[in-house]
Amino acid sequence: MAPDPMARALLLAACLALAGSAAAAGTASVEVPMRDPWVPPELAKQARVGAPSSGAELQAEVDRKLRGRFEAAAGPQGLLTRDAARAAGLGFIDRHFEAIDRRHAGRVSYEDYRQFLRSRAATAR
């Protein structure tokens, strides 16, 4: 007769509890059941209503994300130096700064950055 899996799981759990009471090391703790993915019920009510973004709308979301980071690091003029990029943790812009700074101005605008990303995407294809 095949063992009842539930009974086996319970037996094993009991054994693990016994082992755990004797020595903490070697047994793992499970504070909640595995239910990934899951969200608390009150959050489930706050899900997006309507279609998700795609195409130009999705690209606009990407643009907002990249622009937000750029502008937070740039000065009030919206221009970013290599040092400022580095200080803000924008390693990508730091690494590609010379290519982004086509005018060799030592400062780049978000438009310069976007142009660079576009031309890079074009050459990758």
Partner: protein, 518 residues
């Protein structure tokens, strides 16, 4: 280990006696005396998974052990490093969290041509032990899924499908899980949110790469479930930080929490993305009409996708918006594909996965992670009541600490937190939404790195992150993004399946070759 050994032996004897299921010792690698470089580490630190906990000082210590794995004609010599590495904030350099990780590195490989892959599970709040001991590490637990007669606790065996022949592997635990903990003045809860978690994982990867001189190594991310949400956020953050990512593997993806009808108040969302998974489950139990052969299954599921997209989706929307009942022809088509009688479809037209799990097979409850697992009885529908999860959890909980101590030389007085309660207080908000949609993050990663490649692994029999929902989420990226989807007969953790794992490993190896241009 004497204290732990005695009760374990007694338990295994009891298990043998009571349920006639065997236990097999997993301790020791049987490879003889360890090489001299081996350095065990007894970590005196006590770690806590509590929301308010933090370490007074960062921890940066690890054990080092050397191992050999024979795979057919070839032998892999590798080093395992198990311990902590502290992530520091990018600008201030202040310690954020000490991450527990286990790294497997192939001895004698040239770092520039040797990729490094970071693995993590999800939850959020789960440690990485599932992927670590279940998927592509050098050792794995033989679970026998979806069979239920494998000896438990599952034995630890050499893994013929390890990815170590292709890449170095780093299994890392999220803050507040495993033995990972925040460093004061932060607390674990500081990093319990989509954005803070992504950022601290970025800082761990940056630190790992710098500390191990892996700047020239191609980098890959391998996340599962919520770990795929994390991967999308993390890939964007790494690219932005100038740390290029070559490839991202999404195991059972949930990129957009808003599109999964079981995660949202269901009146707002059709369960369209689940219908083909219901069909796959019905096919497994021989309840669909027709019952497709293994070769015919992909075509059958293509037809199920078309039915879901072209007929079911508009009908559910019509019912939601104007109360229009579905027509009888559609109910009978749905019934043929899913094995659920037309009357059930009529009663709950926007059918949820829990309903299918409780009602498809009379007198049984099916697994959520793997519907091929069934147990007698029908408990009330609940995401907590998943036999395909609770039947394997005790073995992973039992083996992880034992493996770390006996094989990797890392011991600690703390018990490993396999699943923390972080999920209950997690800050899910991201980019202005209460529930995360990380498709824009993945799109941003592609914008910054057009050579990025993404591989998606799906199990047909997974009712947690259904494959058609994932396909629809990824379709938003358009044709410019290099995304490849591979689906197998199997569950959420399809790597546990002895038939699926070799297929997935071959696809994984091909993906790495392509991503590396070799």
């Amino acid at each position: 280990m004497l204290r732990a050994f005695l009760p374990r032996t007694a338990c295994l004897a009891a298990a043998l006696f009571l349920s006639a299921c065997g236990g097999s010792g997993g301790g020791g690698n049987g490879a003889g005396s360890p090489p001299p470089q081996t350095q065990a580490y007894t970590d005196p630190t006590v770690y806590s998974s509590a929301a308010t906990a933090s370490l007074a000082q960062p921890v940066d210590t690890a054990s080092v052990t050397h191992h050999t794995l024979t795979l057919g004609a070839s032998t892999l010599h590798y080093t395992a490093t198990a311990g902590h590495m502290t992530a520091t904030a990018p600008v201030s350099g202040l310690a954020e969290a000490s991450f527990f990780y286990v790294a497997y590195t192939l001895d004698g490989a040239a770092p520039a041509s040797r990729p490094v892959t970071f693995f993590y599970n999800g939850g959020p709040g789960s440690a990485s032990a599932w992927l670590h001991l279940g998927s592509y590490g050098p050792r794995r637990l033989a679970t026998g899924m979806p069979r239920l007669d494998a000896p438990a606790p599952f034995p630890l065996v050499d893994n013929a499908e390890t990815l170590l022949d292709v890449s170095d592997l780093v299994f890392v635990d999220a803050v507040g899980s495993g033995y990972s903990e925040a460093v004061a003045p932060n607390t674990n809860r500081t990093f319990w949110g989509v954005d803070a978690d992504g950022a601290v994982f970025r800082d761990f990867v940056v630190r790992y790469v710098a500390a191990n001189q892996r700047q020239a190594s191609p980098r890959f991310l391998f996340g599962e479930s919520y770990g795929t949400t994390r991967s999308a956020v993390l890939a964007d953050l790494l690219e932005s930080a100038g740390v290029e990512v070559s490839g991202v593997v999404l195991q059972s993806a949930v990129l957009d929490y808003n599109s999964n009808c079981a995660l949202v108040a269901r009146i707002t969302q059709p369960c369209t993305g689940y219908v083909p998974s219901y069909a796959a489950t019905a096919a497994w139990y021989g309840l669909s009409q027709p019952v497709p052969s293994a070769d015919a299954l992909p075509g059958f599921l293509d037809d199920a996708r078309a039915l879901a997209r072209d007929r079911f989706d508009p009908a559910v929307r019509a019912q939601m918006s104007s109360g229009t009942p579905p027509d009888a022809a559609l109910l009978s088509q749905l019934s043929a594909f899913t094995g659920m009688p037309p009357a059930k479809w009529q009663a709950q037209f926007n059918m949820t996965p829990d309903f299918v799990r409780m009602n498809l097979v009379s007198g049984s409850t099916l697994g959520r992670y793997d519907t091929r697992v069934s147990v007698p009885g029908t408990a009330p529908p609940s995401g907590d009541d998943d036999p395909s999860s609770y039947l394997i959890t005790p073995s992973f909980a039992f083996r992880i600490g034992e493996y770390l101590a006996n094989e990797l030389g890392y011991t600690t007085p703390t018990s490993y937190t396999l699943l923390s309660n972080a999920i209950q207080t997690w800050n899910f908000s991201h980019d202005g939404r209460p529930l995360p949609d990380t498709v824009p993050d993945l799109a941003a990663a592609f914008t910054q790195n057009p050579r990025l490649k993404v591989l998606v692994f799906d199990g047909y029999d997974d009712l947690a992150t259904p494959f058609f929902t994932t396909e629809r989420d990824l379709a938003r990226l358009g044709t410019g993004a290099d995304v490849q989807v591979k689906s197998y007969v199997g569950g959420h953790m399809l790597y546990l399946d002895d038939a699926a794992r070799p297929l997935a490993k071959a696809d994984l190896a091909a993906f790495y070759r392509r991503a590396l241009g070799s």
